[in-house]
Structures are given as structure tokens and as C-alpha cells.
């Protein structure tokens, strides 16, 4: 057992650091939150820079233009870019981390050639059309219907929580092609061009205000059969293969960021005034923060364990599910503690009240989704109990 990186890993890190240092200082200021056209431009520009420097598709196979990096290089990449506060993957999220890996695993050679290079170069943006208003935790109950009509599917239905739909070129779309089959057995995976007639996009405002999420309404949208990935009615299986690409690194950026924020809270608490002294004088604040940091540190160690396991076996094991659950709760506790520390400086999103307060407040609202999105904590616990511990479903 060894927490030291190999010389090769350290060389990779050094090279990356130096590239980040020089590249980040040239970067323009990030665009306004609500300026979607600019955000697309900014994020895809960053993706293009990654691509040109050889950092795009780090974990993708070389045959599709990736770097075929090891899991530990992937860990280092995420760690260093987050530490350096490099731009977030942003609008490239679905393309690089979800649709792309799915295409690599399941799409035809023609499809891979058509779509993968432009994802890596930041030329094309993808969104996800999985969830529906009545299909959340129970995704397999989705109802959006696709009916075959010659060389096309005619799609009708409604999707929700489609990130960046307003700027996407393509959508990875799950549709029901066999309404008679058992629910998992009648689902098909389609590539939907977002400029197809019949698509209506309605942005979703979240608790934090305007957001990257949207509802997508599909009315008689025609999708070529050639845009189907895998077999008809085999879409459910295809959705299950995607996550193997994470190789244990799914929460690396989040953990690097959360540990930084925990430290910033310790800094800010010393500046948060109380009747006497500062919030840092409150022993209950310090103890709670110590507990949260111990958990975040443990999750960071557990991440390295998962990455090591992926390195050895190709699969990160059950630790990834546990990290999702425990990270969500630790991060929300950090958010709750932030509010306690901020006290009345939390009454507005403003740096004027206490410098650094607005970032913590934004975080607090955004992290409310952690125990819900991509599997509620309730569902995660079920899965751990059933798949890891072997407890019976019924």
C-alpha cells in the first residue's frame, strides 16, 4: 500500500501544472451566469484548449482520439484542474462524461467517427434526455414514445432536468419503443439533433435562481433510425454501462472543492463577528467543522482506494456508491454550518456583508440537490443494502 505517486504520475502532474499556470492566466473572465451563448463559447473554448494540449478525453481510448490515461492520471488531472480553479467542464459535461463514453462503448464505428471527435474538440455540445416528470427515481418507467415510421422514429413526450439543452447540438435520448414489454425491456437509446423540428425548450428555475436545466417538449419529432445506438429495446442496458468510465474518480473535483471550502469557512469564521469575538470562538462550530473535514479527508482517501481498485481490476467497486452518499451528506452539513457561521451575513448574496459569504451561500443552495440528483440518498442506501450487503429486495 502506497500513497506516493509514481515518477511517471508526478511528471504528468508537473507538466499539467505548468500548462495550467500558463494557460489560466490568458483566460478571459468567465461570462455572466445567465448568458448562455457566452457560456457555451467560454466552455467549448476551454475544451478546445484541453484538446489542443492533449488533455481532452483523458480516459478515452486512443483509437477515438483519447489519451488512454490511467485512473491515477485521471485523478491527478481532476485534482489539479480543480485546485487551480480551472473552468468547470460546464456545457461539455454530458458530451465528455456521459454521452461520449456511452458512444465509445456501444455505438457503431460510423457513429463514433461522426460524434466523438467533435465532442473532444468542443465543437459540439450534448445534453441528456433521460428523466421525465413522472420518471425520476423510477427512470425505467419513462413514457416518451418513439414509433417507427420507415427510416425514422416519431418521438412524442416530455423530458426534464436536461442540463444545457438550450445550447446543445445533440441529446442522448431515452424513448419507449415497446409499450407492451416489461418496463426496462422496451427502451431505446437515440441521438437526437436538437435542431429537429418539434422541439420546445423551457428553462427551469431552481432554488438558486436561473439554471442550466430545462424541460424539453417533443412533439412529432422525427429521428432517423440511423441515430439509434445499439439495438431497439436495448437502451436500458446501454445506460448501465456508462459509469464504468469514471473509474473511481466521479467525486474528485467535488472533494477537492469541498476541502478547499471547508478551509475557507475556517478562515471566514474568524472574520464573522459575534457579540464577543468571532464565530471561530464558538467551540461547537470548530468541532462540527473538524468532524466534516475528517469525513471529507476520509472520502478523499476512499477515492484513492477506488482509483487503485480501478487501476487493478478496471472497476472501482462499491466504494463509488458510498462516496456519493457520504459526500452528499458531508457537503450539506458543511452548507448548514456555513449558514450558522454567516448568520445575518447570509441574508443576501452579497460580498459586501462579509467577504466570501456569497460563494458559501450560492454553494448552500446548489448543494441542496446533492441528496436528490442522480439517485436520491434513499435510493442510494437501498442500492448499497441490496447490491453490496445482499439484503433482499422484498
Amino acid at each position: 500500500m502506497d500513497l506516493r505517486y509514481t515518477d511517471a504520475d508526478e511528471a504528468f502532474r508537473a507538466e499539467l501544472r505548468s500548462w495550467l499556470e500558463s494557460t489560466l492566466q490568458d483566460l478571459p473572465a468567465p461570462p455572466a451566469r445567465d448568458d448562455w451563448a457566452e457560456r457555451r463559447r467560454y466552455d467549448t473554448d476551454w475544451q478546445r484548449r484541453l484538446h489542443d494540449a492533449g488533455y481532452a478525453g483523458l480516459n478515452w481510448p486512443e483509437r477515438v482520439g483519447g489519451r488512454a490515461a490511467s485512473p491515477s492520471e485521471q485523478l491527478i488531472f481532476l485534482e489539479e484542474t480543480t485546485r487551480a480553479r480551472a473552468p468547470y467542464v460546464g456545457v461539455n459535461f454530458v458530451g465528455t462524461l456521459h454521452a461520449g463514453p456511452t458512444l465509445i462503448a456501444e455505438a457503431s464505428e460510423e457513429q463514433q467517427e461522426r460524434y466523438l471527435p467533435s465532442i473532444l474538440r468542443g465543437d459540439e455540445v450534448w445534453c441528456q434526455g433521460f428523466s421525465e416528470p413522472t420518471a425520476g427515481s423510477d427512470l425505467a418507467s419513462l413514457r416518451t414514445k418513439a414509433v417507427r415510421d420507415g427510416d425514422e422514429y416519431v418521438v412524442n413526450g416530455q423530458k426534464i432536468w436536461c442540463s444545457f439543452a438550450q445550447v446543445a447540438d445533440f441529446c442522448e435520448l431515452l424513448v419507449r419503443t415497446d409499450p407492451e414489454a416489461k418496463k426496462q425491456a422496451g427502451i431505446t437509446w437515440l441521438i437526437l439533433p436538437m435542431d429537429s423540428p418539434g422541439i420546445e425548450i423551457r428553462p427551469i428555475d431552481t432554488v438558486a435562481g436561473s439554471s442550466e436545466f430545462a424541460e424539453v417538449f417533443l412533439g412529432d419529432v422525427r429521428v432517423p433510425v440511423a441515430n439509434r445506438v445499439g439495438d431497439e429495446n436495448d437502451g436500458w442496458r446501454i445506460t448501465q454501462v456508462t459509469f464504468s468510465f469514471e473509474r473511481g474518480t466521479a467525486f474528485v473535483s467535488e472533494l477537492v472543492d469541498a476541502r478547499r471550502l471547508a478551509n475557507e469557512l475556517a478562515v471566514l469564521a474568524r472574520r464573522a463577528p459575534r457579540m464577543e469575538g468571532s464565530a471561530w470562538d464558538d467551540a461547537t462550530v470548530r468541532r462540527e467543522l473538524g468532524h466534516i473535514v475528517a469525513e471529507l479527508d476520509a472520502l478523499w482517501a476512499l477515492t484513492k482506494r477506488n482509483v487503485s481498485q480501478a487501476e487493478r481490476t478496471g472497476s472501482p467497486g462499491p466504494g463509488s456508491m458510498m462516496i456519493k452518499l457520504a459526500y452528499s451528506e458531508a457537503r450539506q452539513r458543511l452548507g448548514e454550518l456555513s449558514l450558522r457561521v454567516l448568520d445575518r451575513a447570509a441574508l443576501a448574496f452579497s460580498d459586501d456583508l462579509l467577504s466570501g459569504a456569497d460563494e458559501l451561500l450560492e454553494e448552500r443552495l446548489r448543494t441542496l440537490a446533492l441528496t436528490i440528483a442522480a439517485g436520491t440518498s434513499q435510493i442510494q442506501r437501498n442500492i448499497i443494502a441490496e447490491r453490496v450487503l445482499g439484503l433482499p429486495r422484498k
Partner: protein, 326 residues
């Protein structure tokens, strides 16, 4: 001993609930975001006419000569409806600021200053500002306060301003300790109403939302979240009613302990129940469209006034005897 609501109190509760259902439905409440200080002055007067601020005043002053517990019954309903504005300050000052009792004057307030930056809620919608200091409560004119409205308040229905300097103002015939104490209880009552509304909203959604071919309310994990939410409401309400009775009749026991416990539990209940409602609502709970976030944000805001849950827990502990009880 009869710790249930009296028939009069039930009538009071039902009357205010009916008024609020008609005049402060959630759409109207949300619309207050666009009013100055988020105060609907017209309907504020209706609240005043209904007696919301005057319950505890002597009959000679147009009041009903009722107790703090009756006011708490009313404030629970105001909280359930999430009525915006400085309701608590206006009630507490009703006897000493002209026009507050009938709702023609809207009174806001600010408590002891911590640090060098003072934030005031609803400044654009009030006629008088009560400033509670260590020695006295003073009346300030909002126009005399130099303040800058902050662009994005945490709670869209609680606009806040950053104050440069606060003038001294004129003393009011109201003891600071009393303002803090009554304010804490009424604020706690309001929070109980919020906690109740959130528990109820979670139940409604759990009954109607289906996943895996059954209502999500049939799953144990959801049941347990909602059972805990219901327990928090009952405990916090009992605590608030007990605190209100202690204020009006100090011979019942330790008033400080009762008041501190009530604000502590009500604050925690409102926050926890809004969190529960958000989790039960799943993705929908995370949207602006569903009301849950408005309750959660308000609960956070109200934890910063009249003492936080933390401070009140400390206050309860400080009330414990340092000698074994007889």
C-alpha cells in the same frame, strides 16, 4: 389545567386561517416580491382590522385584552401562509407606535448590532423602525436611515438593506427585554406554522407522487421522514404555547427557559421540515416553482432574528440549576 385551545381560540385560529386563505394565498404572497419592502400595505391594513396586531392591547386601546398565547395562535397561521413583512415587530410595538395596532403603520425592527455591518429587513415597506438596544428601544424614521438595498436577498420575500449608520432615534415605552422575549415567542409561533405547512406539503406530495407503481408515501424511508416532521410540529407547538403562557403568568415557572426552548425547537423544526419537504419532493423540491424553497429560505432568515436556535439552546443550558434539584 387545560392545555388545549379554548373554543374562542379555535374560532380565532379558524377566522384568521380563513382570512389568510382568501387574502394571502401563495400566489399573492409570491407577488409581494415586487412590492416595496415586500409589504402588501393594503392587505396589511386588513390584517390590522382583523386584529392581528392588537390582540394583546387593552380594550380601551382598541384591543381584545388577550394573552400572548392567543397571539401565538394567530402567528402560527401567518407562518403557515408565509405572509411576508415585519409582522412580529408590528405586533410587539402595537402598544407604543401609533397606527401599528390597526395596520396603518408598518413597524420594522432591528436588534442589537453585531459587527460593523447592520442589515435591516423590509426597510422599503415600513413607516417606523424599532431599534432594540441594550438599554432601550428607540423609534427611528426609515427616511433617516442611510441604507443600500442589496440586490439578491436570500429570501426573495425578505428584502434587506445594508445600513451605513443608524441614528439614535426617540425612546419608546417598551423594555428591550420584553421586546426580545415577546418577539422570540411570536417568531417561534410563526416558525411552527411554517413547519406545519411543510410537513403537510410533504404528506400531500407523498400521497400523489408515484414511482415504482406506488405512491412514494408507501415507502418506509419517506414515511419515517414525514413522521419525524409531524413530531417536530407537535413538540414545537406545545413548547411555544407553554412559553406564551409562562410569559403571561411567570409563576408557572422559568420564563427564560420556556421562551428559549420554544424559539430553539421552532427554528429547528421549520428548517428541518422544509428540508424534509424538499427531499420528499425530489427534483421538484429543487425548483423555484414549488413553494418549498420559500419556506426553507424564510426559516433560515428567521433563525437570525430574536436569537438563533444555537443561542437559545445555550440559553436553556444556562437556566439549568448548578445544584441537584430537591
Amino acid at each position: 389545567m387545560d392545555f388545549e385551545l379554548s373554543a374562542d381560540q379555535e374560532a380565532l385560529r379558524d377566522g384568521i386561517a380563513e382570512l389568510l386563505a382568501g387574502r394571502f394565498g401563495i400566489e399573492r404572497v409570491r407577488a409581494c416580491e415586487n412590492l416595496p419592502g415586500a409589504v402588501d400595505r393594503e392587505r396589511w391594513r386588513e390584517l390590522g382590522e382583523a386584529g392581528v396586531f392588537a390582540l394583546r392591547l387593552p380594550e380601551a386601546d382598541g384591543g381584545l385584552d388577550l394573552g400572548l398565547v392567543d397571539a401565538a395562535v394567530v402567528f402560527e397561521e401567518l407562518g403557515a401562509a408565509l405572509v411576508p413583512g415585519p409582522l412580529v415587530w408590528s405586533e410587539v410595538c402595537a402598544g407604543v407606535v401609533g397606527g401599528a395596532a390597526d395596520g396603518s403603520t408598518v413597524v420594522g425592527g432591528v436588534s442589537a448590532q453585531v459587527g460593523d455591518r447592520v442589515v435591516i429587513e423590509h426597510l422599503g415597506g415600513i413607516d417606523a423602525l424599532a431599534r432594540v438596544g441594550s438599554e432601550r428601544v428607540a423609534r427611528l424614521e426609515p427616511g433617516d436611515v442611510t441604507a443600500e438595498p442589496l440586490a439578491r436577498p436570500l429570501d426573495p420575500l425578505t428584502p434587506v438593506s445594508l445600513v451605513e449608520a443608524l441614528p439614535e432615534g426617540d425612546p419608546l415605552a417598551l423594555a428591550p427585554a420584553r421586546a426580545r422575549r415577546d418577539g422570540a415567542v411570536l417568531c417561534a409561533a410563526y416558525l411552527v406554522g411554517m413547519a406545519r405547512a411543510m410537513a403537510a406539503s410533504g404528506v400531500v406530495y407523498a400521497l400523489e407522487r408515484e414511482q415504482f407503481d406506488r405512491p412514494i408515501g408507501s415507502f418506509q424511508s419517506i414515511k419515517h421522514l414525514l413522521a419525524d416532521a409531524a413530531v417536530r410540529v407537535e413538540m414545537a407547538r406545545a413548547s411555544v404555547h407553554a412559553a406564551a403562557l409562562h410569559v403571561d403568568d411567570p409563576e408557572l415557572g422559568d420564563v427564560r427557559r420556556a421562551v428559549a426552548g420554544s424559539k430553539h425547537l421552532a427554528g429547528e423544526a421549520a428548517i428541518a421540515n422544509a428540508r424534509t419537504a424538499l427531499q420528499v419532493h425530489g427534483g421538484m423540491g429543487f425548483t423555484w416553482e414549488v413553494d418549498v424553497h420559500l419556506y426553507l429560505k424564510r426559516a433560515w432568515v428567521l433563525d437570525t432574528v430574536f436569537g438563533s436556535a444555537d443561542e437559545h439552546a445555550d440559553a436553556v443550558a444556562a437556566c439549568l440549576s448548578s445544584f441537584p434539584l430537591a
